[in-house]
């Protein structure tokens, strides 16, 4: 029972990371209907930047904030420069551009930082909090940070004019333009936010899985699965899906098939959701007029 509880709680912690990355994916999907294959690698690169800053002597939370800010700007720039020209291009071109970004980020990270595994510090204490035996401080902290990010985003989208404008631009670009919203910039901001949230996910997961250029490929797969389980157009669904996938991954890994096939769980999950309920648990069903 104790082992089971431990599996569930540490599943919740990695689930929080999946949830953050899934949230980033959903943000971009909602406004552009594109699945960003490079989201994981962007997060990985941000994490390396944070690593650089921490090594240069910056305090952890300072580096954390600065990384988020840089990632935000980088996200905006990528949208403006690279994604915008293919906004209305066929799906294959868009997917190709995302894959190009993926390999570019991956190889630049490998080029600059080499492929050796690095440790990444955790801001949370070594000892488990409150004397509990089930969950480490970092895991608990990861859950806390995820929830904080979620609340901040909720407040931003729900209660600020800019958040409202972004939601409007995502939902109906033409009407938004008519009321004076600069839709293009809203998309760019969405990319910036997604990159920032991804950076958080990267920094949270790096202490667990260590820092290396390929660290995010598995995480990205789980984030995809999470986004799909929750419904790829629903941010809350994505977060919920993230936690579900995190727990499922741990339980299936521990009790059913062993850890070597963990990625296959994500594959099966993705295909099952797409087949059985493509809208996910909380997604909207769209009818298309032909």
């Amino acid at each position: 029972m104790e082992a089971f509880l431990h599996q569930v709680l540490s599943g919740l912690a990695t689930g929080g990371v999946y949830a953050s990355l899934a949230l980033a994916l959903v943000m971009i999907y909602q406004s552009t209907n594109h699945i960003n294959f490079a989201q994981g690698e962007m997060a990985m690169f941000s994490t390396y930047l944070a690593w650089n800053m921490i090594n240069a002597g910056l305090p952890y939370w300072g580096a954390f904030a600065l990384t988020i800010a840089i990632s935000f700007v980088a996200g905006v720039v990528i949208e403006r420069v690279i994604i915008r020209p293919v906004e209305n291009a066929p799906v294959l071109s868009v997917v190709t551009v995302f894959v190009a970004l993926l390999v570019i980020f991956n190889s630049i990270a490998g080029w600059i930082y080499t492929y050796t595994i690095k440790t990444f510090p955790s801001p949370f204490p070594e000892q488990p909090l409150f004397g509990n035996r089930y969950i480490s401080s970092h895991e608990l902290g990861a859950i806390g940070v995820t929830l904080t990010v979620l609340v901040v985003l909720y407040v931003f989208f729900r209660f600020t004019p800019l958040g409202l404008a972004m939601r409007a631009a995502a939902q109906n670009a033409t009407s938004s333009r008519l009321v004076g919203i600069r839709v293009g910039w809203m998309l760019a901001l969405g990319w910036g936010l997604a990159a920032a949230v991804g950076a958080v996910a990267g920094m949270l997961v790096a202490p667990i899985i260590y820092l290396e250029p390929n660290m995010m490929s598995g995480v990205l797969l789980y984030a995809f699965a999470a986004a799909l389980v929750g419904g790829i157009d629903n941010p809350f669904g994505a977060v919920f899906g993230g936690f579900i996938v995190g727990i499922l991954e741990n339980l299936i890994g521990a009790y059913v098939i062993g850890t070597e096939l963990k990625l296959t769980v994500a594959l099966v999950l993705i295909i099952c959701v797409l087949l059985v309920k493509p809208t996910g648990l909380f997604g909207k069903v769209f009818a298309t007029r032909v």
Binding site: I35, V94, I104, S107, L267
Partner: protein
């Protein structure tokens, strides 16, 4: 109006006594003869490299049938390549089959697995299909390492295959023989692919890509065609995978990562989407460019891949094949032709 009547159609114009079609045939035959002569003029290592070009060309043709002509994006063809390679390796090493007999079996195994994967993929469009196939590619190495099939797959170690000798006591090196063997299969596969695409079926595939509903309305069984295309595409890839395993003489899970699938995507984008000749250009690119780039840094090939992908999407969306076609049409127009340039637009 009158001008059009006076000048004969361009296809009828004769150059040095031969029609354009005949010239094309001559060019093709010369190309094949050149390809046959190639392994006798370069070093053994180069023969191996060109052999891999042929293998990749078959993969890229298969992927292009699916992605270029039928519009189903696959980021997971490395997985089918792996299945083909493993089928060949297991049959040769564990069962003791001769190498040539493994190729149809590998093709068939991949056809079946491609068809089965294609069935659920029917419900997925665009990004979702890319996502599902990408997941397949990422999960493949793990599946191959799975311990309960280790007795066949050899687990992490993989399987070492013995290089086949040339038959009939021919006095050529095994590499040269394998090259010629691969070339023969490549020619067969290209003729099959060309025949498949140029007629009714090819038109149906393109119709499904460009407008699925209109295609259905015209009586195209979209579901059947799409899943069959997935199967056929996987078949091409599996045949190539088997050949690749025999050429490299080794299979191991870590040679079939998601990077391999991305390689193939790079190949069709650079070579030219929805073109048959593009497969060859793309194969040359993915075989030789990383080789040159490797000398700069271990990470350089992928950086260059990424940059080339972006450049091609923005500047040359029809790939090298499209560029060649464009140059060719310019030349024809410069010679006073009246035909309108018919540039095939990929979706």
């Amino acid at each position: 109006m009158n001008d059009a009547l006076v000048t004969p159609p361009l296809s009828m114009t004769r150059y040095a006594g031969l029609s354009l079609r005949a010239w094309k045939m001559v060019g093709l035959v010369a190309l094949v003869l050149g390809a046959i002569a190639l392994p006798f003029t370069v070093s053994n290592y180069r023969v191996f490299q060109f052999n891999m070009v042929l293998v990749y060309a078959i993969v890229l043709l298969g992927l292009n049938i699916l992605t270029g002509y039928n519009g189903q994006i696959s980021l997971g063809h490395g997985a089918f390549y792996a299945i083909g390679a493993y089928v060949a390796a297991i049959l040769m090493d564990r069962v003791g089959w001769p190498y040539w007999a493994t190729i149809p079996v590998a093709g068939l195994a991949c056809f079946v697995s491609g068809f089965l994967f294609g069935l659920p993929a029917l419900r997925l469009r665009g990004h979702y299909l890319a996502l599902a196939t990408f997941a397949l590619a990422v999960a493949m190495p793990q599946l191959l390492k799975y311990k309960h099939i280790e007795q066949w797959t050899g687990g992490v170690q993989g399987i070492v295959i013995i290089k086949p000798d040339p038959p009939f006591g021919w006095k050529i090196t095994p590499d040269q023989w394998l090259y010629l063997f691969t070339l023969a299969i490549l020619i067969v596969m290209f003729i099959l692919g060309w025949n498949l695409l140029r007629g009714r079926i090819g038109r149906a595939l393109i119709a499904i890509r460009d407008h699925p509903i209109a295609a259905e309305a015209m009586g195209v069984n979209s579901a059947l065609y799409k899943s069959l295309t997935f199967g056929v595409s996987a078949l091409f890839t599996g045949v190539a995978g088997a050949l690749g395993a025999i050429v490299v003489q080794f299979v191991a899970p870590d040679s079939f990562t998601a990077g391999l699938s991305i390689n193939f995507l790079v190949g069709i984008v650079v070579g030219g989407i929805a073109s048959i000749s593009g497969a060859v250009y793309g194969a040359l690119f993915i075989q030789f460019v990383p080789n040159f780039a490797d000398q700069i840094s271990k990470a350089a090939p992928w950086a260059i891949y990424g940059v080339f992908l972006l450049l091609f999407v923005y500047l040359m969306p029809t790939g090298v094949a499209g560029f060649v076609r464009w140059v060719y049409q310019r030349l024809r127009l410069a010679r006073g032709g009246t035909d309108k340039p018919a540039v095939a637009k990929p979706s």
